[in-house]
Amino acid sequence: MFSWILQGGLLLLAFFVPLVLLLAAFPPFLRYLARIGHVSDDAHKSPPTKVPEPAGPLLFIAILAGELTVAAGYGSYVPLALVAGAGIAFAIGLADDLYVLGGKTKPLLLLLAGVGFVSFVFVRPEIYTSDLSFPLLGDTSPHFIIFTVLAIVAFPVVTNAFNMMDAFNGEISWFTLLTSLALLAGVVLHEVYRGGFSMSRVASVLPLVAVATGFLVYNRYPARAFDGDSGSLMFGAMFAGIAITGGVEVAAMIAMVPAILNSFYTLSSVRGFVERRKMSSRPTFIGSDGLLHASVEKDAPNTLVRLVLLASPLTEKDLVKSIVKLVAVACAFSVGISVLTWVL
Protein backbone atom coordinates (compact mmCIF):
# COMPACT_ATOMS: atom_id res chain seq x y z
CA MET A 1 0.00 0.00 0.00
CA PHE A 2 2.75 2.43 1.06
CA SER A 3 4.73 1.47 -2.01
CA TRP A 4 1.81 2.35 -4.31
CA ILE A 5 1.33 5.73 -2.58
CA LEU A 6 5.04 6.42 -3.03
CA GLN A 7 4.94 5.37 -6.68
CA GLY A 8 1.87 7.56 -7.28
CA GLY A 9 3.58 10.48 -5.55
CA LEU A 10 6.60 10.06 -7.82
CA LEU A 11 4.30 10.12 -10.85
CA LEU A 12 2.89 13.45 -9.65
CA LEU A 13 6.42 14.77 -9.11
CA ALA A 14 7.44 13.65 -12.62
CA PHE A 15 4.64 15.83 -14.00
CA PHE A 16 4.62 18.81 -11.65
CA VAL A 17 8.37 19.39 -11.10
CA PRO A 18 9.00 20.29 -14.79
CA LEU A 19 5.64 22.09 -15.13
CA VAL A 20 6.07 24.34 -12.07
CA LEU A 21 9.73 25.00 -12.89
CA LEU A 22 8.83 25.97 -16.44
CA LEU A 23 5.93 28.25 -15.52
CA ALA A 24 7.95 29.94 -12.76
CA ALA A 25 11.06 30.49 -14.88
CA PHE A 26 9.37 31.54 -18.13
CA PRO A 27 8.67 35.24 -17.35
CA PRO A 28 12.22 36.12 -16.17
CA PHE A 29 13.76 34.01 -18.96
CA LEU A 30 11.71 35.78 -21.63
CA ARG A 31 12.64 39.18 -20.16
CA TYR A 32 16.30 38.08 -20.28
CA LEU A 33 16.04 37.00 -23.93
CA ALA A 34 14.40 40.32 -24.84
CA ARG A 35 17.05 42.30 -22.94
CA ILE A 36 19.95 40.63 -24.79
CA GLY A 37 18.17 41.08 -28.12
CA HIS A 38 17.28 37.44 -28.80
CA VAL A 39 13.96 38.17 -30.47
CA SER A 40 12.56 37.01 -33.83
CA ASP A 41 9.96 38.43 -36.16
CA ASP A 42 6.59 36.72 -35.85
CA ALA A 43 6.46 36.58 -39.64
CA HIS A 44 2.77 35.75 -39.94
CA LYS A 45 1.61 38.95 -38.26
CA SER A 46 1.09 42.11 -40.26
CA PRO A 47 3.15 44.10 -39.32
CA PRO A 48 5.54 41.48 -37.82
CA THR A 49 5.88 41.55 -34.02
CA LYS A 50 9.01 40.65 -32.03
CA VAL A 51 8.91 37.44 -29.96
CA PRO A 52 11.70 36.16 -27.62
CA GLU A 53 13.52 33.12 -29.06
CA PRO A 54 14.88 30.51 -28.33
CA ALA A 55 13.00 29.18 -25.32
CA GLY A 56 14.64 25.80 -26.03
CA PRO A 57 17.23 26.07 -23.19
CA LEU A 58 14.50 26.54 -20.58
CA LEU A 59 12.38 23.75 -22.10
CA PHE A 60 15.39 21.41 -21.94
CA ILE A 61 16.18 22.35 -18.33
CA ALA A 62 12.56 21.59 -17.37
CA ILE A 63 12.66 18.21 -19.18
CA LEU A 64 16.01 17.47 -17.53
CA ALA A 65 14.61 18.25 -14.07
CA GLY A 66 11.61 15.98 -14.69
CA GLU A 67 13.64 13.07 -16.06
CA LEU A 68 16.25 13.32 -13.27
CA THR A 69 13.40 13.20 -10.76
CA VAL A 70 12.17 9.99 -12.41
CA ALA A 71 15.70 8.53 -12.56
CA ALA A 72 16.37 9.28 -8.88
CA GLY A 73 12.90 8.23 -7.70
CA TYR A 74 12.74 4.90 -9.53
CA GLY A 75 16.47 4.18 -9.90
CA SER A 76 15.93 3.79 -13.64
CA TYR A 77 18.36 4.37 -16.52
CA VAL A 78 15.54 4.95 -19.06
CA PRO A 79 15.22 8.71 -18.27
CA LEU A 80 19.01 9.09 -18.57
CA ALA A 81 18.99 7.54 -22.06
CA LEU A 82 16.12 9.89 -22.99
CA VAL A 83 17.93 13.02 -21.82
CA ALA A 84 21.15 11.89 -23.52
CA GLY A 85 19.40 11.81 -26.92
CA ALA A 86 17.36 14.94 -26.19
CA GLY A 87 20.42 16.81 -24.86
CA ILE A 88 22.44 16.19 -28.01
CA ALA A 89 19.48 17.18 -30.23
CA PHE A 90 19.04 20.30 -28.07
CA ALA A 91 22.73 21.24 -28.46
CA ILE A 92 22.54 20.81 -32.26
CA GLY A 93 19.34 22.87 -32.31
CA LEU A 94 20.95 25.61 -30.23
CA ALA A 95 23.90 25.71 -32.63
CA ASP A 96 21.35 26.07 -35.46
CA ASP A 97 19.52 28.84 -33.57
CA LEU A 98 22.76 30.78 -33.09
CA TYR A 99 24.71 30.03 -36.30
CA VAL A 100 22.25 28.41 -38.81
CA LEU A 101 23.39 24.94 -39.92
CA GLY A 102 23.01 23.66 -43.49
CA GLY A 103 20.03 21.64 -44.74
CA LYS A 104 22.18 18.48 -44.98
CA THR A 105 24.49 19.11 -42.00
CA LYS A 106 21.68 19.14 -39.45
CA PRO A 107 20.22 15.66 -40.23
CA LEU A 108 23.72 14.18 -40.27
CA LEU A 109 24.60 15.74 -36.91
CA LEU A 110 21.29 14.54 -35.47
CA LEU A 111 22.47 10.94 -35.96
CA LEU A 112 24.64 11.72 -32.91
CA ALA A 113 21.47 12.12 -30.82
CA GLY A 114 20.53 8.55 -31.79
CA VAL A 115 24.05 7.33 -30.98
CA GLY A 116 23.93 9.03 -27.57
CA PHE A 117 20.58 7.38 -26.84
CA VAL A 118 21.45 3.83 -27.94
CA SER A 119 24.84 3.92 -26.19
CA PHE A 120 22.92 3.40 -22.92
CA VAL A 121 21.73 -0.01 -24.09
CA PHE A 122 25.32 -1.27 -23.81
CA VAL A 123 25.29 -0.31 -20.13
CA ARG A 124 21.69 -1.37 -19.42
CA PRO A 125 20.34 -3.84 -22.04
CA GLU A 126 16.82 -3.61 -20.60
CA ILE A 127 16.44 0.01 -21.79
CA TYR A 128 14.75 -1.23 -24.96
CA THR A 129 13.86 -4.52 -26.59
CA SER A 130 15.00 -4.91 -30.17
CA ASP A 131 11.68 -6.04 -31.65
CA LEU A 132 8.61 -4.29 -33.00
CA SER A 133 5.04 -5.05 -31.94
CA PHE A 134 2.28 -4.82 -34.53
CA PRO A 135 -1.49 -4.83 -34.03
CA LEU A 136 -3.02 -8.34 -34.46
CA LEU A 137 0.22 -9.67 -36.05
CA GLY A 138 2.30 -9.81 -32.88
CA ASP A 139 6.02 -9.20 -32.46
CA THR A 140 8.91 -9.44 -34.85
CA SER A 141 11.80 -11.60 -33.76
CA PRO A 142 14.48 -9.51 -32.02
CA HIS A 143 17.31 -8.22 -34.23
CA PHE A 144 19.62 -6.12 -32.09
CA ILE A 145 21.86 -4.73 -34.85
CA ILE A 146 19.07 -3.91 -37.32
CA PHE A 147 16.86 -2.42 -34.60
CA THR A 148 19.70 -0.32 -33.16
CA VAL A 149 20.65 1.03 -36.59
CA LEU A 150 16.98 1.90 -37.24
CA ALA A 151 16.76 3.54 -33.79
CA ILE A 152 19.75 5.76 -34.60
CA VAL A 153 18.30 6.70 -38.00
CA ALA A 154 14.91 7.43 -36.40
CA PHE A 155 16.33 10.39 -34.47
CA PRO A 156 17.11 12.71 -37.43
CA VAL A 157 13.86 11.64 -39.13
CA VAL A 158 11.62 12.32 -36.12
CA THR A 159 13.43 15.45 -34.93
CA ASN A 160 13.25 16.99 -38.41
CA ALA A 161 9.56 16.09 -38.67
CA PHE A 162 8.96 17.94 -35.37
CA ASN A 163 11.07 20.85 -36.57
CA MET A 164 8.94 21.16 -39.71
CA MET A 165 5.79 21.36 -37.55
CA ASP A 166 7.14 24.52 -35.90
CA ALA A 167 6.00 27.32 -38.17
CA PHE A 168 2.95 28.94 -36.53
CA ASN A 169 1.91 30.13 -33.07
CA GLY A 170 1.06 27.11 -30.93
CA GLU A 171 1.63 24.54 -33.70
CA ILE A 172 4.65 22.75 -32.16
CA SER A 173 3.32 22.92 -28.58
CA TRP A 174 -0.09 21.49 -29.55
CA PHE A 175 1.57 18.85 -31.75
CA THR A 176 3.98 17.78 -28.99
CA LEU A 177 1.25 17.73 -26.34
CA LEU A 178 -1.21 15.63 -28.37
CA THR A 179 1.37 13.17 -29.69
CA SER A 180 2.95 12.75 -26.24
CA LEU A 181 -0.49 12.03 -24.75
CA ALA A 182 -1.00 9.36 -27.46
CA LEU A 183 2.41 7.93 -26.51
CA LEU A 184 1.46 7.99 -22.82
CA ALA A 185 -1.70 5.98 -23.57
CA GLY A 186 0.36 3.50 -25.62
CA VAL A 187 3.05 3.10 -22.94
CA VAL A 188 0.44 2.61 -20.17
CA LEU A 189 -1.36 -0.07 -22.23
CA HIS A 190 1.99 -1.69 -23.10
CA GLU A 191 3.01 -1.84 -19.44
CA VAL A 192 -0.40 -3.07 -18.19
CA TYR A 193 -0.97 -5.81 -20.78
CA ARG A 194 2.62 -6.87 -21.50
CA GLY A 195 3.33 -7.89 -17.89
CA GLY A 196 6.14 -6.74 -15.59
CA PHE A 197 4.61 -3.27 -15.16
CA SER A 198 7.34 -0.63 -15.08
CA MET A 199 6.18 2.60 -13.45
CA SER A 200 9.43 4.33 -14.46
CA ARG A 201 8.66 3.90 -18.18
CA VAL A 202 5.25 5.50 -17.66
CA ALA A 203 6.73 8.26 -15.49
CA SER A 204 9.42 9.06 -18.06
CA VAL A 205 6.71 10.21 -20.53
CA LEU A 206 5.26 12.73 -18.06
CA PRO A 207 8.00 15.42 -18.23
CA LEU A 208 7.41 15.72 -21.99
CA VAL A 209 3.64 16.05 -21.45
CA ALA A 210 4.24 18.62 -18.67
CA VAL A 211 6.70 20.73 -20.67
CA ALA A 212 4.47 20.71 -23.76
CA THR A 213 1.55 21.83 -21.55
CA GLY A 214 3.56 24.62 -19.93
CA PHE A 215 5.03 25.77 -23.23
CA LEU A 216 1.56 25.89 -24.79
CA VAL A 217 0.66 28.68 -22.33
CA TYR A 218 3.39 30.88 -23.83
CA ASN A 219 3.44 29.59 -27.40
CA ARG A 220 -0.28 29.60 -28.25
CA TYR A 221 -1.69 32.46 -30.35
CA PRO A 222 -0.58 35.24 -29.93
CA ALA A 223 2.80 33.70 -29.09
CA ARG A 224 4.89 35.19 -26.30
CA ALA A 225 7.76 32.72 -26.87
CA PHE A 226 9.24 30.67 -29.69
CA ASP A 227 11.10 27.46 -28.89
CA GLY A 228 13.65 27.72 -31.71
CA ASP A 229 15.23 24.65 -33.28
CA SER A 230 16.75 23.85 -29.87
CA GLY A 231 13.22 23.27 -28.55
CA SER A 232 11.63 21.51 -31.51
CA LEU A 233 14.57 19.13 -32.10
CA MET A 234 14.67 18.33 -28.38
CA PHE A 235 10.91 17.59 -28.39
CA GLY A 236 11.40 15.26 -31.39
CA ALA A 237 14.31 13.44 -29.73
CA MET A 238 12.29 12.93 -26.54
CA PHE A 239 9.38 11.58 -28.60
CA ALA A 240 11.63 9.16 -30.55
CA GLY A 241 13.33 7.97 -27.36
CA ILE A 242 10.04 7.39 -25.52
CA ALA A 243 8.61 5.48 -28.50
CA ILE A 244 11.63 3.13 -28.43
CA THR A 245 11.95 2.66 -24.65
CA GLY A 246 8.17 2.34 -24.29
CA GLY A 247 7.95 -0.28 -27.06
CA VAL A 248 5.27 1.72 -28.89
CA GLU A 249 7.10 2.51 -32.14
CA VAL A 250 4.16 1.71 -34.45
CA ALA A 251 1.67 3.79 -32.44
CA ALA A 252 4.20 6.65 -32.39
CA MET A 253 4.56 6.49 -36.17
CA ILE A 254 0.77 6.66 -36.57
CA ALA A 255 0.47 9.65 -34.19
CA MET A 256 3.08 11.41 -36.32
CA VAL A 257 1.27 10.87 -39.64
CA PRO A 258 0.54 14.62 -40.14
CA ALA A 259 4.22 15.42 -39.52
CA ILE A 260 5.31 12.52 -41.77
CA LEU A 261 3.00 13.82 -44.51
CA ASN A 262 4.34 17.35 -43.96
CA SER A 263 7.95 16.15 -44.36
CA PHE A 264 7.00 13.92 -47.29
CA TYR A 265 5.23 16.77 -49.11
CA THR A 266 8.13 19.15 -48.56
CA LEU A 267 10.84 16.66 -49.54
CA SER A 268 8.95 15.48 -52.61
CA SER A 269 8.15 19.01 -53.82
CA VAL A 270 11.57 20.61 -53.20
CA ARG A 271 13.37 17.34 -54.18
CA GLY A 272 15.71 17.00 -51.22
CA PHE A 273 16.90 18.50 -47.93
CA VAL A 274 16.73 22.27 -48.16
CA GLU A 275 17.03 24.60 -45.17
CA ARG A 276 13.63 26.32 -44.95
CA ARG A 277 15.21 29.79 -44.90
CA LYS A 278 16.73 29.00 -48.34
CA MET A 279 13.58 27.82 -50.15
CA SER A 280 13.19 29.72 -53.42
CA SER A 281 9.47 30.36 -53.02
CA ARG A 282 7.19 30.43 -49.99
CA PRO A 283 4.29 27.96 -49.56
CA THR A 284 2.05 30.65 -48.00
CA PHE A 285 1.70 34.44 -47.82
CA ILE A 286 -0.34 37.05 -45.96
CA GLY A 287 -2.95 38.55 -48.27
CA SER A 288 -4.16 42.15 -48.26
CA ASP A 289 -7.17 40.85 -46.28
CA GLY A 290 -4.82 39.94 -43.40
CA LEU A 291 -5.51 36.21 -43.89
CA LEU A 292 -2.96 33.52 -44.65
CA HIS A 293 -3.25 32.24 -48.22
CA ALA A 294 -1.74 29.23 -49.97
CA SER A 295 0.68 30.17 -52.70
CA VAL A 296 -0.70 29.17 -56.11
CA GLU A 297 2.75 29.36 -57.71
CA LYS A 298 3.71 26.16 -59.51
CA ASP A 299 7.07 25.78 -57.72
CA ALA A 300 5.70 26.52 -54.23
CA PRO A 301 6.64 23.76 -51.76
CA ASN A 302 3.72 21.54 -50.74
CA THR A 303 3.69 21.82 -46.97
CA LEU A 304 0.79 20.57 -44.88
CA VAL A 305 -0.04 24.21 -44.11
CA ARG A 306 -0.30 25.01 -47.82
CA LEU A 307 -2.69 22.09 -48.30
CA VAL A 308 -4.88 23.31 -45.43
CA LEU A 309 -4.88 26.86 -46.79
CA LEU A 310 -5.76 25.65 -50.28
CA ALA A 311 -9.17 24.71 -48.82
CA SER A 312 -9.68 28.34 -47.76
CA PRO A 313 -7.62 31.31 -46.51
CA LEU A 314 -7.51 31.42 -42.71
CA THR A 315 -6.30 33.49 -39.80
CA GLU A 316 -3.21 32.07 -38.12
CA LYS A 317 -5.32 31.04 -35.11
CA ASP A 318 -7.83 29.12 -37.28
CA LEU A 319 -5.03 27.56 -39.32
CA VAL A 320 -3.45 26.10 -36.18
CA LYS A 321 -6.91 24.89 -35.07
CA SER A 322 -7.23 23.00 -38.38
CA ILE A 323 -3.78 21.44 -37.98
CA VAL A 324 -4.60 20.47 -34.38
CA LYS A 325 -7.74 18.70 -35.65
CA LEU A 326 -5.65 16.70 -38.15
CA VAL A 327 -3.14 15.82 -35.42
CA ALA A 328 -5.95 14.85 -33.01
CA VAL A 329 -7.39 12.42 -35.60
CA ALA A 330 -3.95 10.83 -36.07
CA CYS A 331 -3.53 10.55 -32.29
CA ALA A 332 -6.94 8.85 -32.04
CA PHE A 333 -5.75 6.36 -34.71
CA SER A 334 -2.59 5.89 -32.64
CA VAL A 335 -4.49 5.08 -29.45
CA GLY A 336 -6.64 2.66 -31.50
CA ILE A 337 -3.45 0.95 -32.71
CA SER A 338 -2.20 0.68 -29.12
CA VAL A 339 -5.51 -0.92 -28.06
CA LEU A 340 -5.37 -3.35 -31.02
CA THR A 341 -1.73 -4.20 -30.23
CA TRP A 342 -1.86 -4.62 -26.47
CA VAL A 343 -5.47 -5.19 -25.39
CA LEU A 344 -6.97 -7.40 -28.12
Binding site: F134, P135, V257, L261, H293, L307, L310, A330
Partner: protein, 83 residues
Protein backbone atom coordinates in the same frame (compact mmCIF):
# COMPACT_ATOMS: atom_id res chain seq x y z
CA UNK B 1 -15.98 19.87 -43.89
CA UNK B 2 -13.34 21.85 -45.78
CA UNK B 3 -10.72 19.59 -44.23
CA UNK B 4 -12.47 16.40 -45.37
CA UNK B 5 -10.08 15.72 -48.30
CA UNK B 6 -7.12 16.08 -45.93
CA UNK B 7 -8.71 13.72 -43.40
CA UNK B 8 -9.11 11.24 -46.28
CA UNK B 9 -5.46 11.61 -47.32
CA UNK B 10 -4.43 11.16 -43.67
CA UNK B 11 -6.62 8.06 -43.37
CA UNK B 12 -5.19 6.60 -46.59
CA UNK B 13 -1.64 7.17 -45.26
CA UNK B 14 -2.64 5.39 -42.03
CA UNK B 15 -4.37 2.48 -43.79
CA UNK B 16 -1.47 2.04 -46.20
CA UNK B 17 0.97 1.80 -43.28
CA UNK B 18 -1.19 -0.90 -41.69
CA UNK B 19 -1.84 -2.77 -44.97
CA UNK B 20 1.80 -2.67 -46.03
CA UNK B 21 2.85 -3.90 -42.58
CA UNK B 22 0.50 -6.84 -43.10
CA UNK B 23 1.95 -7.55 -46.56
CA UNK B 24 5.46 -7.28 -45.13
CA UNK B 25 4.85 -9.80 -42.36
CA UNK B 26 2.59 -12.24 -44.19
CA UNK B 27 4.32 -12.31 -47.59
CA UNK B 28 7.78 -10.72 -47.54
CA UNK B 29 9.25 -12.05 -44.26
CA UNK B 30 8.51 -15.78 -44.86
CA UNK B 31 9.52 -15.59 -48.52
CA UNK B 32 11.74 -18.41 -49.87
CA UNK B 33 13.11 -21.58 -48.31
CA UNK B 34 15.97 -21.56 -45.79
CA UNK B 35 19.10 -20.54 -47.76
CA UNK B 36 21.99 -23.03 -47.80
CA UNK B 37 24.66 -21.07 -49.63
CA UNK B 38 25.93 -17.51 -49.38
CA UNK B 39 24.60 -16.79 -52.89
CA UNK B 40 21.11 -17.97 -51.97
CA UNK B 41 21.23 -16.00 -48.73
CA UNK B 42 22.37 -12.81 -50.50
CA UNK B 43 19.83 -13.16 -53.32
CA UNK B 44 16.99 -13.69 -50.85
CA UNK B 45 18.09 -10.73 -48.71
CA UNK B 46 18.34 -8.49 -51.78
CA UNK B 47 14.91 -9.64 -52.98
CA UNK B 48 13.40 -8.78 -49.60
CA UNK B 49 15.08 -5.36 -49.56
CA UNK B 50 13.76 -4.77 -53.10
CA UNK B 51 10.22 -5.71 -52.02
CA UNK B 52 10.46 -3.36 -49.02
CA UNK B 53 11.51 -0.58 -51.41
CA UNK B 54 8.52 -1.44 -53.62
CA UNK B 55 6.21 -1.12 -50.60
CA UNK B 56 7.76 2.27 -49.81
CA UNK B 57 7.38 3.34 -53.45
CA UNK B 58 3.71 2.33 -53.45
CA UNK B 59 3.08 4.46 -50.31
CA UNK B 60 4.95 7.38 -51.90
CA UNK B 61 3.17 7.04 -55.28
CA UNK B 62 -0.37 6.75 -53.87
CA UNK B 63 0.05 9.75 -51.54
CA UNK B 64 1.80 11.82 -54.20
CA UNK B 65 -1.05 11.16 -56.64
CA UNK B 66 -3.75 11.90 -54.04
CA UNK B 67 -2.03 15.12 -52.99
CA UNK B 68 -1.45 16.15 -56.59
CA UNK B 69 -5.13 15.57 -57.33
CA UNK B 70 -6.14 17.68 -54.31
CA UNK B 71 -3.70 20.52 -55.16
CA UNK B 72 -4.74 20.60 -58.83
CA UNK B 73 -8.43 20.71 -57.91
CA UNK B 74 -7.88 23.59 -55.47
CA UNK B 75 -5.32 25.63 -57.46
CA UNK B 76 -7.49 25.45 -60.56
CA UNK B 77 -10.53 26.77 -58.71
CA UNK B 78 -9.03 29.40 -56.37
CA UNK B 79 -8.75 33.09 -57.37
CA UNK B 80 -5.35 34.81 -57.06
CA UNK B 81 -5.52 37.29 -54.19
CA UNK B 82 -3.17 40.26 -54.08
CA UNK B 83 -0.25 39.79 -51.65
Amino acid sequence: MKLLPLYLIESVAFLLIIAETYVFFIFVVPLGSIPHTLTEYTSLALLKVFLILVLGAVWFFVLDELTGLYVRSKVGSSPRPSS
